[in-house]
Point group: C2
Chain length 520, copies 2
């Protein structure tokens, strides 16, 4: 039995937020949330199954291997609501037996060789921010489970100012990467909700997309080169921005979630750090009207750096809980660049958005959004404390299917949670746009049922079925992990699964890499 060490929450304890009393009142009145739930102060860790001989062999590959409770508990789960609920209930059954902290890329390779030999399952661990069960390897059939924490691989290896690329070790956390780049006048421009803790290797392994994706692109499109350690050797991909030399091996490792190898180094496009920023709020009479407008920007421009559109519910809830005031649907439109670029583009956006039926709300809503952009996971903790369940899920599809997917997912969540006696609030926004389609990001809040894990699983399954039935993808930027696997395998079909299992067998013949994650 161990101290919980704050692992059942997001972020540093000092950054925790509490809910304003009017929000608590609203939760009670609207959702029937009945107040604080007790959480376990300790968690049960499974017994370590790795032998001393095995641990010695691992330590020969990488000197720092810990079997201490603190190390195990802090690598026991990701940060999905289900992960947090289980930890709050004192359950840490997915904890690894040991945690290795390699100091060099060679140590990662040596660990994989040792684990292959010992039949030890390997969970690559970056920032630990998975929300899809991506850190919970299958234990059956293995001598044990080793988390390989890449945090010490945090160097900027090379900055190429001419090509505007930066080569990083994959364990570097996003804020540190931005700090290292800022000192040289550059930015990566990747700011997902997990920004404060996530690592670049994790972004790559899960095909992350950040809040500024309209301007800087998805993470998978930023990667021009990568190096991965596999049980059969090193893979080095990317000799040019683009190539016709066969299938794109970078795109095979991106999204592979540790099942094919451990990404140890990444070369990413970087951009000059912006000198100016202009974030503004706009309102649209309806989600449909707003979606047409953001589609027009995505297809014909001008495209801002950040582009988000909340639906009516999200707009109203934000306004009712101290956020920006807006009628209809709120859009946040942010532009970054040189002072001249920002002035020109903001002016062009203003003309275009007005023509598209938008009403300008000025800088306040944009600045409010920017100030609170990483706040949601802290709010979730406060909601869980209060006896609510709160979680997000997301998808993407082509523009023509978007309205149907939106309606189907919303309906599935409302129906499932209402039928079990906990009618939810379902909020949605569009936050990643492409010329041919966009993402939908849903936030769900309801009163906790007796078994909140089962409650959420039922809602999540209904949403997943609705996504699949509407022809959309099961995940736009969270990844597959263990949670999305059933829908994922249906999405790519038998032939897709066979292709990826072919890669898996070739690179990881003993199947030690993140077993149970991504692939069946």
């Amino acid at each position: 039995m161990n101290e919980m060490l704050g692992v059942a929450r997001w972020g540093a304890p000092a950054a925790a937020v509490s809910l304003p009393s009017d929000v608590r009142d609203l939760l009670g009145a609207a959702l029937g949330v009945s107040g604080p739930r007790p959480a376990a102060s300790t968690a049960e860790l499974p017994a370590v199954t790795l032998s001393e001989t095995a641990l010695e062999r691992l330590r020969a590959a990488c000197p720092v291997v810990s079997t201490g409770d603190e190390a195990r508990l802090s690598h026991a789960a990701g940060k999905s609501t289900e992960d947090l609920l289980r930890l709050r209930a004192g359950r840490a059954d997915d904890a690894p037996d040991a945690v290795a902290r390699p100091a060099t890329q060679q140590q990662v390779a040596d660990l994989l060789a040792a684990c292959s030999q010992l039949r030890v399952a390997v969970v690559p661990f970056g920032g630990g921010t998975s929300v899809v069960g991506g850190l919970a390897a299958r234990r059956e059939g293995f001598a044990g489970v080793l988390a390989v924490d890449l945090a010490a691989l945090d160097r900027l290896v090379h900055l190429d100012r001419v090509s505007r690329t930066a080569t990083f070790e994959a364990g570097v956390r996003a804020p540190r990467a931005e700090e290292l780049l800022a000192a040289e006048g550059f930015t990566l421009g990747h700011f997902p909700q997990s920004f404060e803790y996530a690592s670049l290797g994790g972004f790559a392994a899960t095909r992350s997309s950040g809040q500024a994706s309209a301007g800087y692109g998805r993470f998978d499109r930023m990667v021009v080169g990568l190096r991965a350690a596999t049980p059969i050797g090193l893979l080095d991909a990317g000799r040019a921005p683009e190539s016709a030399a066969g299938p794109d091996l970078r795109q095979l490792l991106l999204g592979s979630e540790g099942a094919f190898g451990v990404i140890t180094e990444l070369t990413v496009r970087v951009r000059p750090a912006p000198q100016a920023r202009d974030y503004a709020g706009w309102s649209f009479p309806s989600f449909d009207a707003g979606a047409d407008a953001v589609r027009a920007l995505a297809q014909d421009g001008p495209l801002p750096t950040v582009l988000r559109l909340s639906d009516e519910t999200e707009t109203a809830i934000n306004a009712a809980t101290g956020g920006p005031q807006a009628d209809g649907c709120l859009a946040v439109v942010g532009v970054e660049g040189t002072a001249e670029e920002v002035a020109d583009r903001s002016a062009a956006l203003g003309r275009r958005l007005t023509a598209l039926g938008g009403t300008p709300l000025g800088a306040a809503p944009g600045e409010a959004w920017q100030a609170g952009r990483f706040r949601a996971p802290y709010l979730r903790d406060a909601l869980l404390d209060e006896g609510a369940i709160a979680e997000t899920l997301e998808t993407a599809t082509f523009w023509d299917r978007l309205p149907a997917t939106y309606a189907a997912v919303r309906d599935a969540l409302v129906r499932t949670l209402s039928s079990s006696g906990t009618p939810p609030l379902v909020l949605c926004h569009i936050s990643h746009v492409y010329d041919s389609g966009a993402s939908l990001y849903f936030t769900v809040v309801a009163a906790q049922a007796e078994d909140p894990v089962a409650q959420w699983r039922a809602a999540k399954a209904a949403a997943g079925d609705a996504i699949a039935a509407s022809g959309a993808t099961i995940t736009h930027h969270h990844g597959v992990g263990r949670v999305h696997r059933p829908w994922y395998t249906r999405e790519i079909g038998d032939v897709g699964v066979a292709a990826l299992l072919g890669v898996k067998r070739a690179l990881d013949p003993h199947g030690i890499l993140n077993p149970g994650i991504l692939l069946p």
Copy 2:
């Protein structure tokens, strides 16, 4: 013995060009080209090894299967200079035993099932424009070789005006696809040198990139969905523009050159047909200065639709042979879009290029380039007729390595061909730019040696070695085929090869798909 049917040339006989007498004089004076070479008027086809029983089984899958000489000869090779030289010498040893022309995607799937059962090697055939030996399957170990010509799969299946995507059957030729789209007010915007004959499936299978890639993107980035028939079943990929649902399976099939499956359907991004065009010429004092300028546009904009920069030699040779007159290095800068966009962007480009040291040459060079944009392969035939050898090769790398790659490839070509007594002209241009790097496209002209195939192979090998040693990719947009395979396998390394062979074994367990192409 058979009529050559024009297969040893590019394009329709009526479109053939002849060299002006001053060009012929220049070839003689500068390169020692000694005048017309005789070409065989007939070619020897290998005996058909497929049994009548096998042919019956194939015809049960797809009624149209021909073993006629004309069909076999017209599918015997691609359009590399080596292909043409061999055909001109009467050698058609890579001809398939038979040519199937499926009328439906289902017939393609049925053919693959039949060929798997019969151990017949399958060569998917689109436009037949491969310049890397991509249509010359290994025959050993198979009951025979079947070319699967997809020309009858040429329908526009669906146009989604909202998402701006078009779904085509993969055999559609590029001009027909543009014609179908133009009728609806759209364009694909993909105009490689092979445009007049190449198919969309071929673009996908080889990761083609067109002359307007700066504006419309590479073909692999246009594909949002694809369907491929494999011996184990159908693969259907792409439920959203982008997804975090595992590795990108589209990017695994793109560039797979028929080794993993036959692409039967593609969903591609389309754009509104441009209302206006403005193509202009610019000159820069040197290739280095011009490269810095195009890099500045690629990194900070504005980006035109077409952006090309010739080196000093290409500029001088073009000027001396009736092309645009320019000092130093000629750049072609083309802008397409609405009238307003074109006016705005052309003005912005004018200001920026002037600031970057460019001298405007007006519309004439841009229009001349546009008028002759698909002319090079016809000129090559005329050069071969005249006793010259003429071929192109290309690569791409990051900006910081580009000058070294340029020098190394040039030197390798000059050194190798000079040492065998046929000093070449080596021309080069940059025609595809990215923020982190660019392509280099070389054209080589020399007098034919006694054995021109061996002569070119030696030069090509030296260039390939120089590309690899400089850290660049062996091909930016021509593909791997049989010609680039040795450098390709070194480029992706043992682990990369193992990964792709893993896919191959899974999807094509009997190894019938394009054996010898792409993979060892």
